[in-house]
Subunit: 441 residues, 2 copies
């Protein structure tokens, strides 16, 4: 049986989980990889001993039996691996979207090695280039683990939805923000309390900025939109709102209409236009996303012929994400580079459109005070803007503030914005603050 | 662009939906198939005009512009297609598990054509042979549509779970029986009423025997177990109980413990043994399967590294199932025959074990009458058999019959059977009837 030699660069959570699975299941993997023995030639990381201990790996799998390596040392080991002709595939699990990582990807491919990565940040920035680059070098790029961890979305879109046309993608793709919102909703915790708990439980990074500002979810959505609609990720401009924009009163308002607030990634096509967002949205309790809590990820795909599909699984975790990385390695060991492996699945030239023009149902929440004529003024202004009201529920009273929830039928955010202007024109003191939350369903 | 010529044999629901998708989305498909133009060379069916009309297809796609063709005519057209060297792939959507179909599969492969089929009955019977046969002929067999229609389970197991080890598969894989049980549970309909409605709505065949006796679900489970654990489908002996064994009182009993009754397909491994069943089971309302109603299918996979995965989608329907057939065609047009494409993903020699020995939680329902000492006798007998009782709920009274629900901790069905014997020994008249329903969770 021939070996299939692998180098792993970066041994944090994902790299460690990946190495552990390859090391522990080599017999299974060899069989699945078309009788290639997957062999970790070397793991390159700055802290070999700590990583070996943490993931239960023999130290001789690592580039050196050392406590700490300098960047120069690591670079030297990387250089050796790139020049080692027996290495067929390199896994990059360093993370980050620096120029260094982008260059590293190119160096890996240029030196004739296949590339597997879980790095969504860099793929959202340079994925399109890297895929083109790989095509020219006749090498494969595996990136299953970059979107929703263990959920096999990339391969499913690439090879299972080829007999269909995906109209809409929506879901919960960031476990940290979902955990925080779940705690705020179910336990009534404040944003800060929930985030601190997420950090204590290891769900959130010590610097959870990309999770809470929505960029992590946006990176995943960009990769999916690129794959499904062929629009280069870097050029995708869509609105991204983080969970810091969620008021605690939003949950009370949402509950009053049998719903909750979730951080949702959404993309849909109409004609050749794609509308997308990442932002907090209203999820009715009849929707399956309502019950997705904690770090679990869930994606709904609506397709022209086969209708609705739901995929639920673990979006993070060392072994969970590692299993997706390993599935890429097995696939490449078995198939090598395959023409059009990376091609977007649609021949239509799609382009991004502005979600503000998209017709969605919304929950409009107006923060106001106890004063007469609020509902009349709001109702009239919406009517004057040709917006149909589905339901105006009772205001939620929170301290001196009243939060008026208004459900409106499908309309554009631009139109809602006009209605807000009209209200402000007519009653300058009525609106203290406001927000529009799209309603999922 | 080179053509990729396809012949479709059988133009019922699945064949018709498949032809419709290929015909309507040829530009999309060509791009996805690595620039091969998928071309329907011919559709062979006994009623060309009716099929053309029903699926909105031009009659010149069919083998003849005729109302009815004889079997001999069809066979002549099949023979022509087999001998046509420009045909690269043949789709069999005739259905049934006759020797004729098995021979047809072999003739297709022997004549150098790839085979795609949605036919679960024949694959559960002869799939293993056909895969071996195809390997020798260096041809591919696509069968994504044979298990759970549009849910991409086959490719997901083949190519996405290769970095993991699947411990358990469970789910709802027969839409008809699920529809019937949902109606019985939610609308209180009788079995006959619910089945007639399913037939009127087109969910159930006019002859729904394979749906209601569990064999359709069993065929799908056998194909999955063969794929996951490598045990030849034909040799798999596991217990199959149909939904005709469900009493209407089962739903009342289930509701009293916040659960319902669903027809469940289940397989799990312990060591190198695989335990499996298809039978009605108790699904607590906390389980996501609880809310899967109507013709929707849902599968839960529990894997060693990546934990729990859920897949939900449409398990039947012309276009839904057709989209899965087309994804196989695209895959094969792009990749052709691939070594080990069909190999089971595990090197372990698994064997089937008897589910009666498996430790599961059960709901024991004892049909009895209003008489003193029932709970005492039952409780003592279970205790004497070393079975732990989790809960004995109040009996459901239905006419002269009392239905006593007893939830027991993990134990084997064999042990439960012993407890029943003990009760009968001690109080011959106590048990009028009884059943054990495994509890999912």
């Amino acid at each position: 049986m021939r070996n299939f030699n692998i180098v792993i660069i970066g041994c944090g959570n994902v790299g460690g989980g990946t190495a552990k699975i390859i090391y522990d299941t080599s017999v299974e993997l060899a069989k699945r990889a078309g009788n290639r023995q997957l062999k970790i030639e070397r793991i390159i990381t700055r802290h070999p001993q700590a990583a070996a201990k943490k993931y239960g790996l023999p130290i001789d799998l690592f580039c050196a039996d050392a406590d700490v390596l300098s960047n120069e040392d690591c670079e030297k080991y990387i250089q050796q691996s790139l020049q080692n002709p027996t290495v067929e595939l390199i896994i990059e699990t360093v993370g980050g979207s620096s120029v260094y990582i982008h260059d590293l990807h190119k160096r890996i491919l240029k030196n004739g090695k296949h590339l597997v990565t879980a790095n969504k940040a860099i793929l959202a920035k340079h994925g399109y280039d890297i895929f083109e680059y790989a095509k020219n070098e006749q090498k494969a790029v595996g990136y299953e683990a970059s979107v929703c961890g263990a959920i096999p979305l990339i391969k499913v879109v690439q090879d299972s939805f080829t007999g269909d046309i995906i109209n809409t993608v929506s879901g919960i793709v960031n476990g940290t923000s979902n955990f925080v919102l779940s705690r705020m909703s179910n336990q009534g915790e404040s944003f800060e309390e929930a985030l601190q708990l997420a950090q204590r439980l290891g769900y959130a990074e010590l610097n959870p900025e990309l999770d809470i500002n929505g960029m992590d979810a946006a990176n995943k959505l960009k990769i999916l939109v690129q794959l499904i609609y062929g629009i280069e990720a870097r050029t995708q401009n869509f609105a991204v709102k983080g969970i810091t924009t969620v008021w605690k009163e939003d949950f009370m308002v949402a509950k009053s209409i049998r719903s909750t607030v979730k951080q949702i990634a959404f993309a849909t096509k109409q004609g050749n236009e794609v509308f997308a967002y990442v932002r907090p949205a209203i999820v009715p309790d009849s929707d399956f996303l309502h019950n997705i809590s904690g770090a679990t990820n869930a994606i709904k795909l609506n397709a022209l012929y086969s209708g609705e599909h739901i995929f639920v699984g673990q979006g993070a975790g060392a072994l969970e994400t590692g299993s997706a990385v390993v599935s890429d390695v097995v696939f490449i060991a078995k198939h090598g580079f395959m023409k059009d492996f990376l091609a977007p699945v649609s021949p239509v030239q799609y382009k991004m459109a502005n979600f503000s023009d998209y017709l969605s149902s919304y929950l409009l929440i107006i923060k106001t005070t106890d004063q007469p004529g609020v509902i009349g003024t709001v109702g009239t202004a919406l009517g004057d803007t040709d917006i149909n009201i589905e339901n105006i529920a009772q205001s939620i009273i929170s301290g001196p503030d009243w939060f008026l929830p208004v459900e409106v039928s499908k309309c554009s955010e631009n139109k809602l914005q006009k209605a807000i202007s009209l209200i402000r024109e007519r009653k300058p003191l009525l609106i203290k603050d406001y927000k529009f939350l799209p309603i999922i369903g």
